[in-house]
Amino acid sequence: MTSHPGRRLKTLVMMIIIICASPVGYTFVSKGMKQIDWEGWSLPNLLHFFVQAFTNGTIWLGIALLLGYFVAFLVVLSWADYSYVQPAASLSYLIVALLARYALHESVTPLRWAGVIIVCSGVFIVGQTHVRSHEDHPL
């Protein structure tokens, strides 16, 4: 990462997209999926499930946001360090919980809030480790 001001602003915008697009995408997918009934594992039921899922506009909006997240993630990695991007992305777990509580009106217990914050911390710590454990990969 350099201290180039244009790159700093570009990185900030991309990081906001990365941190927000995935949770918002999952929230839309979740909202759409709640409109669909799971009827069982038989082939007709599974086909019916997929037809309902892929004709639901809310789900497509969510998938589009998830694709946007994926593209933004790949793009930002072309100039930013993975070890910078990945820990910041751990905030997504907290944002999903906030959106689930306040946009989807789910009941989130204090124990679950604690779990979400601990998951964020764990993901952050994993992201602080080296991207590559050794130079000469055996594969």
Binding site: P23, Y26, T27, V29, S30, M33, K34, I36, D37, W38, W41, F49, F50, A53, I59, S78, S92, Y93, V96, A97, L99, A100, R101, L104, E106, S107, V108, T109, P110, L111, R112, W113, A114, G115, V116, I117, I118, V119, C120, S121, G122, V123, F124, I125, V126, G127, Q128, T129, H130, S133, H134, H137, P138, L139
Partner: protein, 125 residues
């Protein structure tokens, strides 16, 4: 309940194994140094010729559909953090399947994620 558990296992285990297959496939064709679109397209095309890539894509597709199924019957505040368990599966798989050296700090992070996932699972609304 049993359906959610099965779908959860597919999301976490099959999804992570799929990512590891992708990792194995992309490592065989080498690191990306040129980020121009045509160079990336050429790299992706080369990856598509590796069988591990297709196995990985199939597994990740199965995991995505399982995630959709989970979201139709469980709360997002449970599903999203609970699937963070893939960090644990990834660390174990990275060590034994991809022969990566997983550092102590990464194991500690994974352990903390596992503790968080347990709290998310038992913290029912």
């Amino acid at each position: 309940m049993i359906t959610v558990v099965i779908l959860y296992l597919v999301v976490v285990v099959v999804g992570t194994l799929g990512e590891m297959c992708l990792s194995r496939a992309t490592k065989t064709i080498g690191e990306v140094h040129d980020f121009r679109p045509h160079a990336i397209a050429r790299h992706v095309w080369a990856a598509m010729k590796v069988p591990w890539m297709w196995i990985g894509i199939a597994m990740m597709a199965a995991a995505f559909f399982a995630l959709l199924g989970m979201l139709s019957m469980a709360n997002a505040s449970f599903v999203f953090p609970a699937t963070a368990l893939n960090y644990a599966v990834g660390a174990v798989g990275g060590k034994f399947f991809l022969k990566e050296r997983v550092t102590m700090q990464r194991w500690i992070g994974v352990l903390i994620v596992c503790v968080g996932v347990v709290l998310v699972v038992i913290g029912k609304g």
